[in-house]
């Protein structure tokens, strides 16, 4: 099978709906300047496959949702500088409205996957208001275990994650401890 495309909705730095297609290409490169959103795209792929948010550079699932404004709670504790920022940002009230509108919309990622027999699977993982996530396959809600089982049938083993190499992690793979290496092999066995 292969990953044919993705749809992101309010995921990390992607506001609203964003679609990306990989078409029939077997080798796709993602390029762009620093801070543009490349690793966030990989986070979207990892998220929709069931990887936990703490491995996606986020404290919790809710911080994966797109945030337009300066609304990190702990940022406000950052001292006076923060207040002066708000003043400069006179349209910030409008911004807040926008933002809460975003918060109304849920955030989700859909992976469009084509199986070897050309069947299409729409794998969707959404973030709910209460910080939990729900899973669906072709529009039908499923439990997380059913979801992971469907992935496993496609040899997508989230526990092993040997096919996802996050930024800065590659060298660690070679110099990991012997026990970690055993673990890695065990996860694929």
């Amino acid at each position: 099978g292969k990953l044919v495309g993705l749809e992101l909705c309010n995921f990390k730095s992607y506001k609203g709906k964003t679609q990306v297609g990989f078409g029939t290409a077997a080798f796709t490169s993602i390029i762009g300047p620093n801070g543009s959103g490349k690793s966030n795209m990989m986070d979207a792929i990892s998220f929709v496959l069931g990887v936990r948010s703490n491995q996606l550079r986020s404290r919790n699932i809710k911080s994966l949702i797109y945030r337009g404004r300066i609304n990190d709670e702990d940022d406000i504790e950052g001292g006076n500088d923060m207040d002066s920022n708000d003043e400069n940002d006179i349209d910030s009230d409008n911004e807040i409205d926008n933002d809460s509108q975003n918060d109304d919309n849920q955030a989700y990622v859909i992976a469009i996957y084509e199986k070897d027999n050309k069947d299409i699977l729409n794998l969707k993982r959404s973030i709910n208001g209460n910080g939990s996530s729900s899973f669906s396959v072709n529009g039908v809600n499923v439990s997380v275990n059913q979801y992971l089982q469907i992935l496993k049938e496609e040899n997508i083993l989230i526990k092993a994650k040997n096919f996802l190499v996050f930024q800065g992690d590659v060298e660690k793979v070679a110099s990991q401890s012997p026990l970690d290496l055993t673990n890695m092999i065990e996860n694929i066995s």
Binding site: K2, F27, Y66, L164, V165, S189
Partner: protein, 165 residues
């Protein structure tokens, strides 16, 4: 459980040298380097570990800790690709794995990917180095649209363009 583990271990152990050689062959070293795995304790593989040994081309045997950044990266990719061949997942996502590589090694990774990609082995690679991304079938360009404070996407199929010389 032990049988399954040993099956996986033996598969990877038999493959790793071939993959590493393919990633390290060059004009100056047609054979490439060599790599292998050893079990710290043959009897109880679970409770002990697996040691990974690499010998870059034209070098004496060195412990992992003495290897350079680029040598470790190549060793790591060889291990990942060897492990992948056991239960091949349909795709790989690699985020700037070429950061520590010199141009010669970037070229070797590009060669490996273009040779092994296919309908059942899809590569999605994030890279800042044109020597790697210009070899791909298609590009996904990401930029930040300042007006709406959001990331945006452009896609381009490279297969329509003639090979740049």
């Amino acid at each position: 459980r032990q049988d399954l583990f040993m099956k996986a271990f033996n598969h990877v152990s038999n493959n790793i040298d071939e993959v590493y050689k393919e990633l390290t062959q060059s004009r100056s070293s047609p054979l490439g380097g060599s790599a292998y795995l050893t079990l710290e304790d043959e009897e109880e593989p679970f409770s002990y570990g697996i040691k990974y040994h690499i010998m870059p081309p034209l070098k004496r045997f060195r412990d992992m800790e003495n290897l350079s950044g680029g040598e470790k990266t190549i060793g790591a990719l060889a291990l990942l690709f060897a492990i992948h061949s056991f239960h091949p997942s349909p795709f790989f996502v690699l985020d700037e794995v070429d950061a520590a590589l010199d141009n010669a090694n970037v070229d070797k990774i590009a060669n490996y990917i273009t040779k092994h990609r296919g309908p059942n082995f899809q590569f999605i690679v994030i890279s800042l180095k044109n020597m790697l991304f210009e070899r791909s079938d298609s590009l996904v360009g990401i930029y930040r649209d300042q007006n709406v404070n959001s990331s945006k996407i452009l896609t381009l199929d490279l297969r329509g363009y003639a090979e740049t010389v």
